[in-house]
């Protein structure tokens, strides 16, 4: 029942701006797929191309194997949840949900049954006769979801569906959306700029920048193996350290940096000795426990700023090679269950990170 969505070499320009720049992408049947990126990266334009509100300049879109690139929106059979919900204010909740079934000429009894089911699925069965403006933001969101789902669309398109909700509701609804998509076995494309939303519920995600697809993969892949500075920086927080490849070690490379040699992970033959590179080290990978014997990547850390958050502490630390007092570099570090550095008395401690947590990236093009 679930369908595949295939995007081939899609380009859409507005004036001189390339909002979507030759993107190719295949979304597997039943997958909850996220388009992620900063505002203006083209993610919404891409979604609107799928819905048919934009006709791309070049490239093709296939849903379930058939090309729909130029099919008008009302014949595409996609269900879309709009950022503003776009509930029709002159219709009741039931009328909103029933509209799509009416358009599909579903007979009365079945229509009523399916509307009831859809409202029950989003737990709105008692609000059928309310007008949209009598509902809270979260309730409107559920109705918008029910309206999109009740027609049993080929795929579900969600355009920042949670951006107008408060933080707590957002957490609740994102689990709900995943549950509903999985229950219905739908292929869904979800646009957001909130990386937490994407990491937490996506099956796979794609990171877009300036209309281009930068990286696609499972959340953990993209988080742990970003392929560029932009992706590493956009997904989660990270520290960048400039360096030059100085040698090869097991599973990676040795990189000479301002604070000495750091061992990191990288595919063989990806970098030549002497090549400039960029190291990405996530703040949570910096350890303040005693390092194992013979561990590489051990430094002296000096805390100069701490934000205490309860379950963790965010430190700004100056890292320098052990023993010598040369110029340090400043890094961000997260200490979970903070007990070591968060005490006021401790200002200096050894710090280390595992070579598998150091990602070696090509240097910036810019």
């Amino acid at each position: 029942m679930a369908v595949e969505i295939r995007i081939e070499n899609l380009t859409k320009t507005f004036g001189t701006t390339r909002a979507v720049d030759s993107i190719s992408l295949t979304i597997q049947p039943g997958e909850l797929f996220f388009l992620l990126g900063p505002s203006g990266c083209g993610k919404t334009t891409l979604l609107r191309c799928l819905a048919g509100f934009h006709i791309p300049d070049t490239g093709s879109i296939f849903i379930d194997g058939s090309e729909i690139t130029r099919v008008p929106p009302h014949l595409r059979d996609t269900g879309m949840v709009f950022q503003s919900y776009a509930l029709w204010p002159h219709m009741s909740v039931r009328e909103n949900v029933a509209f799509g079934l009416e358009m599909r000429k579903v007979p009365g009894p079945e229509l009523r049954k399916r509307v009831d089911e859809a409202l029950a699925m989003v737990k709105m069965e008692h609000r059928g006769d309310h007008k949209p403006n009598q509902l809270s933001g979260g309730q409107q969101q559920r109705v918008a979801l029910a309206r999109a789902l009740v027609v049993q669309p080929k795929c579900l398109l969600l355009d920042e569906p949670l951006s107008n909700l408060d933080a707590k509701l957002r957490l609740e609804m994102r689990g709900e959306i995943r549950r509903i998509c999985k229950e219905a076995g739908l292929t869904a494309v979800y646009v957001t700029h909130d990386q937490k939303e994407a990491l937490s519920i996506a099956d796979r995600l794609a990171v877009l920048e300036n209309g281009c697809l930068r990286q696609a993969g499972k959340p953990s892949e993209v988080y742990h193996q970003p392929i560029s500075r932009f992706v590493a920086n956009f997904i989660g927080e990270t520290n960048f350290i400039d360096g030059v490849v100085s040698g090869i070690c097991e599973g990676g490379y040795r990189v000479k940096t301002a604070i000495g040699v750091i061992e990191g992970r990288g595919e063989p033959d990806a970098f030549a000795v002497g090549a400039p590179v960029l190291l990405s080290v996530r703040p949570e990978t910096l350890m303040f426990t005693p390092p194992p014997p013979d561990s590489p990547n051990v430094f002296d850390a000096e805390v100069h700023d701490t934000v205490y958050l309860g379950e963790m502490a965010q430190h700004q630390v100056n890292l320098r090679a052990t023993g010598n007092g040369e110029a340090p570099i400043s890094l961000k570090a997260f200490e979970l269950n903070p007990r070591i550095l968060a005490r006021d008395t401790v200002e200096q401690a050894p710090a280390w990170f595992h070579p598998r947590d150091v990602v070696i990236l090509p240097p910036d093009a810019s």
């Binding site: 929106p73 009302h74 029709w88 204010p89 309206r147 999109a148």
Partner: protein, 568 residues
């Protein structure tokens, strides 16, 4: 909106405007510059050289400037007070202050004369002899009647402009030590200039070419009356054409200046009002002091209407050299209803107006869709085109329609067919041209209200309908139209009301009694010796009630947005 349908609407609009708007204007201009196929400036120059026409033009200019200044003088303080204070009975007074708009000033002139005339109520009340309050030449009579009828347009424009001023701008001025009148002059006034100019342009174009009021007030030495009087010679005398060309040029120039100065919103607010400004609540003596100007203006402005109502209730001759009519009766209404001329005229006006508004509603919505929802490069042009009828006085349009009607009825093929002659020759049957004139002149109101409605309606509501499988026309019928109904009804009501009481086209185009609309009948009745004036007043009251109901209806639907309809 798909491009093909947008282009179809655009093409149709070009055709309609070409045939029904530009052609008549072109025909007027041609009549002014070409005589017997020869280009000549003789008649245009002649208008300025001939002392009678020159005086007429000069007087019309004086009428326009005087009316506009007086209307501004009335409207500006009222709008300022209404924006700043919340005073007792503000809702009612704010509504009543718009009421004078509901009666064409020329009907009010009948009542005005009863009160201020030589043998009128004021002289009787003051126990004076036959003092002529209206003055020689009756210039001030015409100006005050027009200003008292047109100031609401100014008031609505200024009030809307004031409401748009970000209150933070005023606060910033105060913070820097500028307050009171200096703040008004240096900060507020420059910011509301677009509104003042927009309202002023409409009032000027209206009063500069107003025909009904000078006719009733017997102020004959102005260009509009001179054109009207020369109608019979339209085939042989190029002077009326030249006169109309000069009026057209003046109006269009003014409109263009106002567009160039303020059309692109020179003072566009950089931000939406960040601090919410609530009107200062004043009650008790201070409150009524603020309300006083409203009460004064309303009483003076409603004086003509009051006079018309009294005239209509007074048996012929019962209101002469007395403060109030000696007896009151419904005899005029009985006569008005029994008079077959009045009943027929009501029927005619309804027929013309319904046709005009139906066409307007459909055409206006289609234009608004292209303007708001398409991405045609030409949509800005279309929007401007649809607004153009505001720049052209009704008198000029009427003259243009007369001119093309006389051209068409001389075409051989048409001359020989009674059917075509009936359609195109206003001397036979003015229905087509009256309906066309009514719709073209009121189209801007319809377009503006539809555009406002569409702009308030999020596109994603229509996209959601398409996404749910609704084809474009179904989406328009089920989602868009229901959401902009309020705007459409308001726009249509307004267009309808104005069509029912349209003056210049009605006076000029309806030439046979069985096709007279209400306004022409009122004018013709007024000229009858004897009971005519009283029956005319009764018909005027009927029209007043009718218009009050429609305007109040549309303002209830539109609320404060009513002002948006009177902006250019």
């Amino acid at each position: 909106m798909r491009n093909t349908s947008a282009w179809i609407v655009f093409g149709f609009a070009l055709f309609v405007f070409g045939a029904l708007f530009l052609w008549p204007l072109f025909s007027v201009v041609q009549g002014g510059f070409f005589v017997d196929g020869q280009f000549t400036l003789r008649y245009i120059a002649g208008v300025f050289r001939n002392p009678i026409y020159a005086e007429g033009l000069f007087n019309s200019l004086r009428l326009g400037l005087g009316t506009t200044s007086l209307a501004l003088l009335i409207a500006l303080p009222l709008a300022w007070l209404a924006n700043k204070y919340d005073f007792p009975a503000k809702g009612i007074l704010g509504g009543l202050v718009l009421v004078p708009m509901i009666l064409p000033p020329f009907v009010g002139a009948i009542g005005f004369q009863q009160i201020l005339g030589q043998y009128g109520a004021l002289n009787a009340a003051l126990n004076l002899g036959p003092v002529d309050w209206l003055g020689r030449g009756r210039y001030w009579g015409v100006v005050s009647l027009q200003a008292l009828a047109l100031y609401p347009i100014m008031y609505l424009n200024v009030l809307a402009a004031l409401a748009n001023v970000d209150h933070a701008m005023n606060e910033a001025a105060e913070n820097l030590g500028c307050s009171g009148f200096r703040k008004f002059r240096r900060i507020t006034l420059p910011l509301i200039m677009p509104g003042v100019f927009a309202g002023g342009t409409i009032v000027f174009i209206w009063s500069f070419t107003e025909l009904g009021t000078p006719l009733i007030m017997n102020y004959t030495r102005c260009a509009s009356v001179q054109v009207y009087d020369a109608l019979l010679e339209i085939g042989s005398n190029p002077f009326p054409f030249a006169l109309v060309v000069v009026m057209l040029a003046t109006s269009v120039t003014l409109y263009a200046i106002s567009k160039a100065l303020f059309g692109r919103q020179a003072h566009a607010m950089t931000s939406k009002a960040a601090t919410t400004f609530t009107a200062t609540r004043v009650r008790g003596a201070r409150g009524w002091l603020v309300a006083l100007p409203f009460i004064l203006v309303i009483s003076v402005a409603l004086l003509p209407h009051f006079g018309v109502i009294l005239t209509s209730l007074s048996p012929p001759g019962a209101w002469y050299r007395t403060v109030l009519p000696e007896t009151l009766s419904g005899v005029n209404y009985a006569e008005a209803l029994g008079h077959n001329m009045t009943l027929l005229s009501i029927r005619n006006s309804l027929f013309y107006s319904v046709l005009a508004v139906t066409f307007n509603a459909m055409f206006g919505v289609a234009i608004a869709f292209v303007v708001v929802r398409s991405n045609l490069r030409v949509r800005g042009f279309l929007d401007a085109l649809a607004m153009l009828p505001l720049a052209v006085p009704g008198l000029v349009m009427a003259f243009g329609y007369l001119s093309i009607s006389s051209f068409l009825s001389n075409v051989e093929a048409i001359k020989e067919s009674p059917f075509w002659l009936n359609l195109f020759d206003v001397r036979n049957n003015p229905t087509l041209f009256l309906v066309v004139a009514y719709s073209m002149r009121r189209l801007p109101y319809m377009v503006r209200s539809a555009v406002a409605g569409l702009q308030q309606t999020s596109v994603s509501l229509e996209e959601a309908a398409a996404n749910m499988g609704a084809p474009p026309l179904v989406s328009i019928r089920r989602v868009t139209l229901p959401l902009i109904t309020a705007n459409l009804i308001a726009g249509a009501l307004l267009a309808f009301a104005f069509s029912m009481l349209e003056v210049s086209d009605s006076l000029m185009l309806a030439q046979r009694q069985d096709f007279y609309p209400i306004t022409k009948t009122i004018y013709e009745l007024f000229q009858l010796i004897g009971t005519g004036k009283y029956v005319a007043a009764a018909l005027g009251v009927w029209a007043m009630v009718f218009l009050a109901v429609t305007i109040v209806g549309s303002s209830l639907i539109l609320g404060r947005k009513l002002g948006a309809l009177f902006r250019i």
